[in-house]
């Protein structure tokens, strides 16, 4: 558990398919995330982004297809000890019965990786990294949504992950806080060199942090490429998502003209 040991890993998804009660939620998903890159999965609500992320971290099992971490199937015994993974949940998913400090140090204390005094030092350090120094003894429900999200990031940082996943990290946050979270994700990339996968429908965040973007709609990957390539893609479904504000303006225009008359 030393920052210098952290190495980035690749992740590859091949032919992933999953259905719930006969409804196909993920259909032949294929992509590869290169070591150290920030890979953003974008798509509208209900497109299957979160379900896909749960498969990538191993919380859900696919009906068919495989997920490879550094070339090895994700369910390989001992893989998680070899390549540490962490996830920041949309709801933050902090344990409400534990203090902020206990939440952040949970991985170290439960796996008995460090003595309590050292855990306290690491927890204080990680909280300082996310701008929450001195809040160890507060309970999660005493914090704002943005602060909870940053505690969840600190909890993920403690793992010193090779691969870190974010589920809608800026959902329910104001734009200023969203920028702060985006900065945290980029800091992780630059300091830990961790491979990051971010699921979001926040276009500003996606275009601000992504090395590459995948667009998912109705359980299918429509596009994988750089943010610039995505913006220039002629597919109307993609254009409608990327330039949604133009659609709103178009709907609004005749209404305005009528009201002026």
């Amino acid at each position: 558990m030393n920052g210098s040991e952290t190495q980035n890993v690749s992740l590859e998804v091949r032919g992933l398919r999953r259905s719930f009660n006969g409804v196909v939620v993920l259909d032949d998903i294929q992509f590869r995330v290169e070591p150290g890159e920030v890979f953003v999965i974008m798509g509208p609500s209900g497109s299957g982004k979160t379900v896909l992320l749960k498969h990538l971290i191993g919380l859900e099992q696919p009906d068919s297809g495989e997920i490879l971490v550094q070339g090895k199937p994700i369910d390989t015994p001992g893989l998680r000890d070899q390549y540490r993974m962490a996830m920041v949940f949309q709801s933050s998913a902090l344990l409400t019965s534990l203090t902020v400090g206990e939440n952040v140090g949970l991985y170290l204390s439960e796996h008995q990786l460090k003595p309590p005094r050292e855990i306290a030092f690491i927890v204080a350090d990680k909280l300082k990294t996310v701008g929450l120094a001195g809040l160890e003894n507060r309970l999660p429900n005493e914090l704002s949504g943005g602060m909870q999200k940053r505690v969840a990031i600190a909890r993920a940082l403690v793992v010193e992950p090779h691969l870190i996943m974010f589920d809608e990290p800026t959902a329910e946050l104001d734009p200023i806080m969203a920028v702060a979270i985006g900065e945290e994700i980029l800091k992780l990339k630059n300091q830990l060199h961790a491979t990051s996968i971010v699921v979001t429908h926040d276009r500003d965040l996606a275009f601000g942090i992504a090395d590459r973007v995948a667009m998912i709609m109705n359980g299918k990957i429509l596009f994988v490429g750089t943010p610039d390539e995505l913006k220039e893609n002629p597919d109307p479904k993609i254009q409608n998502f990327v330039y949604a504000e133009l659609l709103i303006r178009r709907y609004n225009q005749p209404h305005k003209e009528t009201s002026h008359k």
Binding site: L59, R80, M87, S91, A93, L94, L106, Y107
Partner: protein, 238 residues
């Protein structure tokens, strides 16, 4: 889930702090209630049976009858039902809400086994706490029976006769019988409540459903187990 928890038993020492917390939670929440309930159960049994027995000249068997029924049946079963309502519901609600709000998913992503982290401490704590509470409930129940027997004018069996007969009829094996039953009931409540919590789905309504199922299923299983355990223990005592 029960076998997975048994396999995790060697890790119990590592979770001693959580077990102590749960023990305190169960004991603190239930001891007074257990004593009040037990006192009145003993009293009611004396009130219902005492006059009938005394009318037939059988007042001298009252102590033994209440002694046996409280320690072998009423204390373990009623306390198990009380704990299913108070503690089983709390367990399923807490674990269920952790499940709904993705806290259990968060544990899994940190490679922390929810069975070891959540179920093991609760199961050990309830398996220790319920028999301990029953040890309190038995003498308090006897005392309730003795008080009503002594002070109710239609019964009027004094303390000396009551406890004299109780000493003659009830032996240590009978008390162990009740404590063993409560241990089995505790395991059933723990497993059912934790399992219901872990399979919770669908937000606050799902949590409510899990709590209801945990309590109802626990009570049904306690009463079914009680019959089979009684038969088994009667065979063993022969």
């Amino acid at each position: 889930m029960f076998w997975q928890t048994l396999q995790a038993l060697p890790l119990a020492w590592r979770h001693r702090a959580k077990i102590a917390d749960q023990l305190f939670e169960i004991g603190n929440a239930s001891l007074l209630m257990v004593c009040i309930l037990s006192l009145f159960i003993g009293g009611v049994v004396a009130l219902q049976t005492g006059p009938v027995l005394v009318e037939r000249g059988l007042g001298y068997v009252l102590g033994g009858m209440i002694g046996l029924s409280v320690c072998k049946e009423l204390a373990p079963v009623m306390m198990a039902i009380l704990i299913a309502g108070r503690i089983g519901s709390a367990m399923s609600a807490e674990i269920g809400s952790m499940r709904v709000y993705q806290e259990i998913d968060a544990l899994k992503t940190m490679n922390i086994n929810p069975i070891n982290y959540l179920v093991l401490p609760r199961l050990i704590a309830i398996a220790l706490a319920l028999p301990t509470l029953v040890m309190f409930a038995i003498p308090v129940g006897w005392m309730g029976g003795a008080l009503v027997s002594a002070y109710n004018s239609r019964v009027a069996v004094d303390f000396g006769s009551f406890f004299g007969d109780l000493r003659d009829v009830v032996d240590v094996g009978d008390v162990w019988n009740g404590i063993f039953k409560s241990f089995v009931f505790a395991l059933a409540i723990g497993v059912i409540s934790c399992h219901q919590g872990l399979i919770t789905r669908g937000g606050p309504r799902g949590i409510g459903r899990s709590v209801t199922k945990a309590v109802v299923n626990s009570i049904v299983v306690i009463l079914i187990l009680d019959y089979f355990l009684t038969r088994l223990l009667l065979l063993v005592q022969k």
